[in-house]
């Protein structure tokens, strides 16, 4: 029987960063990986967000052979005939919050390269890595306190603290009695097909436009993400959503002309088929117990918007290792002592992600992962674009007809706005972390008073237009409540 300060179950990005941090803090650390090497049982792509490079110095040294930097993302919309009707792209904003964010959207890498590299960093820092070893559960001392883990080889390892970095199904969480399995509504499954292609072909076809999202009226939102010499194509949805076998929806994604084009033009060959579960929690609330902390997917730390997981796994791994160090110094690894871990992650970018968790989930479930909404959102967006840009009749005529094209969608739009967007805006309505830019404020104050009266007079002079109906309604039901609410807030502030 071997004795350690810290045992970490799982050799993914979270486990490795926890092991690296703990070893650097002087803790005698071992981490276990059930695959023959880290990355062999991975659950994601992956597009590493700029946050990974903002917050971890060692990540700036990352140099993986098959990385592709995504400088553009494209959203494709397809209707219920499974025909793509629209697409639009975006790139990093020149006003992005920090240098990496201004440079790229994600850095796409393979987990088969990322995970071993991170594990090597942990080993170099002094952590012991044991591969091909499944942890079958935690062990307990005579008083019932968790005091280590047992492997499938029948060996026992003892430690003061155990970190569960073992993913959605987390053996540590379940055997330590922290939680049972998640509810089906809190977990999504993502089907993924890995394709190989030559660097030259991908450069020619997509280049840095390496993140494609396929929003549909038939299947839950799909993706094709490109790395240097490969791409991932797949889709996913909440576990409680599937009405048919996932292949039904996957077939529809692969039938899309745009997806077929990418495969054909890149000469991409399918190499692997995977299915993974990821968490979509609104508020992770079971992240520690006596002697045990959970990190990454085991804790439910994937972002509730698109289930980005690697950054949150790495960040929580770092925090858990620090808390373990402090708890060991205090000589108290009880649940009460480890409550420090929850305080730490709630006060970090992880906690920030979950402030709007429930509302974001409502938005994602209501719109993002909801092909039924796509059935009218996609034609609505297309009709709006068509109404503005078509050359089928005079532009005068098509501009007059534009409201007539859009108004039929209003009942559904209002319903969705109220159900999904209003709660989101309320939840996110806290003051932003950065105050409004002074320059922008002064420009708005200078320009709007001149422009708005001009536009208002122009609108009033036109007769027999939709604005004759919509303007009084907007005044009565938007401007007046706005003014009333502002006045109410001012009165309360006075009190």
């Amino acid at each position: 029987m071997k004795k350690y300060d810290l045992i970490i179950v799982g050799g993914g990005p979270g486990g490795s960063v926890a092991a690296k941090t703990a070893s650097e803090l002087g803790l005698k650390t071992i981490f276990f990986e059930r695959g023959t090497r880290p990355g062999e049982k991975n659950v994601s792509g992956t597009g590493l967000s700029p946050k990974c490079f903002r917050d971890f110095d060692f990540m700036r040294e990352m140099d993986l052979p098959h990385e592709r930097v995504a400088t553009m993302a494209t959203l494709h919309l397809s209707d219920d005939r499974n025909i793509e009707t629209n697409s639009f792209s975006f790139t990093p904003s020149l006003n992005g919050p920090y240098p990496e964010a201004r440079e790229y959207l994600t850095r796409n890498v393979y987990r088969s390269e990322l995970d071993p590299w991170l594990a090597e960093l942990a080993v170099a820092a002094g952590a012991e890595l044991q591969t091909s070893t499944k942890v079958s559960g935690v062990t307990r001392d005579s008083s019932g306190k968790v005091d280590g883990v047992k492997t499938d080889r029948g060996e026992e390892y003892k430690a003061d603290v155990v970190i569960g970095a073992d993913g959605v199904i987390s053996t540590v969480a379940r055997t330590a009695g922290i939680r049972e399995k998640w509810d089906a509504s809190e977990v999504a499954m993502i089907l993924n097909v890995d394709f190989g292609a030559s660097r030259e072909d991908i450069d020619a076809v997509v280049g840095g436009n390496a993140l494609h999202y396929w929003y549909s009226s038939i299947f839950p939102v799909g993706y094709s993400f490109f790395s240097a010499e490969g791409c991932h194509i797949g889709l996913g949805c909440y576990m409680d959503w599937w009405k048919k076998n996932p292949h039904y929806y996957l077939d529809k994604l692969f039938e899309l002309e745009g997806v077929q084009q990418q495969i054909r033009m890149c000469n991409a060959k399918a190499r692997e088929f995977q299915n993974h579960m990821v968490t979509f929690l609104t508020d992770p609330s079971t992240t520690y117990g006596d002697s045990v902390m959970l990190i990454g997917d085991a804790a439910g730390f994937a972002c509730p918007y698109e289930a980005e997981g690697v950054y949150y796994a790495m960040y929580s791994g770092m925090l858990a290792a620090r808390v373990a160090k402090m708890a060991l110094e205090r000589g108290d690894v009880s649940k009460r002592s480890l409550a420090e871990y929850e305080r730490a992650w709630r006060d970090s970018p992880i906690g920030e992600e979950f402030i709007g968790g429930a509302a974001i989930e409502g938005f994602v479930r209501g719109i993002g992962f909801n092909p039924d909404v796509g059935k009218w959102v996609v034609p609505m967006i297309n009709d709006a674009m068509y109404g503005i840009l078509n050359v089928a009749e005079s532009h005068t005529e098509s501009t007059r007809n534009l409201p007539g094209l859009i108004i039929p969608y209003l009942p559904q739009l209002m319903e969705t706005v109220q159900a999904d967007l209003v709660p989101l805006s309320i939840a996110l309505g806290k003051p932003p972390s950065r105050p409004p830019n002074e320059n922008v404020s002064s420009v708005l104050r200078a320009v709007l008073p001149k422009v708005l009266p001009f536009l208002a007079k122009r609108a009033a002079r036109a007769e027999n237009r939709y604005s004759d109906v919509t303007t009084p309604i907007a005044m009565e039901y938007f401007m007046k409540p706005f003014a009333d609410e502002k006045a109410r807030i001012a009165r309360e502030a006075k009190r």
Binding site: R34, G35, T36, G39, E40, K41, N42, S44, G45, T46, Y110, R111, S112, T131, S132, T133, K134, S136, T151, D152, R153, V168, I169, T171, K181, W182, A184, V187, M189, L191, V193, D194, G196, G230, M239, D240, W242, K243, K244, N245, P246, H247, L250, D251, F254, E255, Q260, A270, R271, E272, F273, Q274, N275, H276, M277
Partner: protein, 90 residues
């Protein structure tokens, strides 16, 4: 393109020991496991969920069947260390 063809692209170190079991007594034949499994490893026979005999050679280890099983009759554990699915690229 039939995405079922992708099912052939699964690399396994086939484990010897079972890692999924089903308790037929508890199964309520809701069929959720049949719906979600992307490898078609589940079927309903005589109103009970039945796991394919060759599941160890095919299972993707996603745990979806276990996750959706409300009666709790499906138990899922990972294959023994070093065995099971091998993701070469990911």
């Amino acid at each position: 393109m039939n995405t079922r063809d992708f099912m052939l692209l699964v690399y396994k170190e086939v484990p010897e020991e079972d890692f999924i079991t089903v308790d037929a007594e508890r199964c309520e034949a809701c069929g959720e496991c049949v719906v979600v499994c992307p490898m078609f490893l589940w079927s309903l026979k005589d109103k009970k969920a039945v796991l394919a005999a060759d599941y160890k050679e095919k299972c993707l280890e996603c745990g979806a069947c276990w996750q959706v099983c409300e009666s709790g009759s499906i138990s899922f554990d990972f294959p023994t260390g070093g065995k099971g699915i091998v993701v070469k690229y990911g």
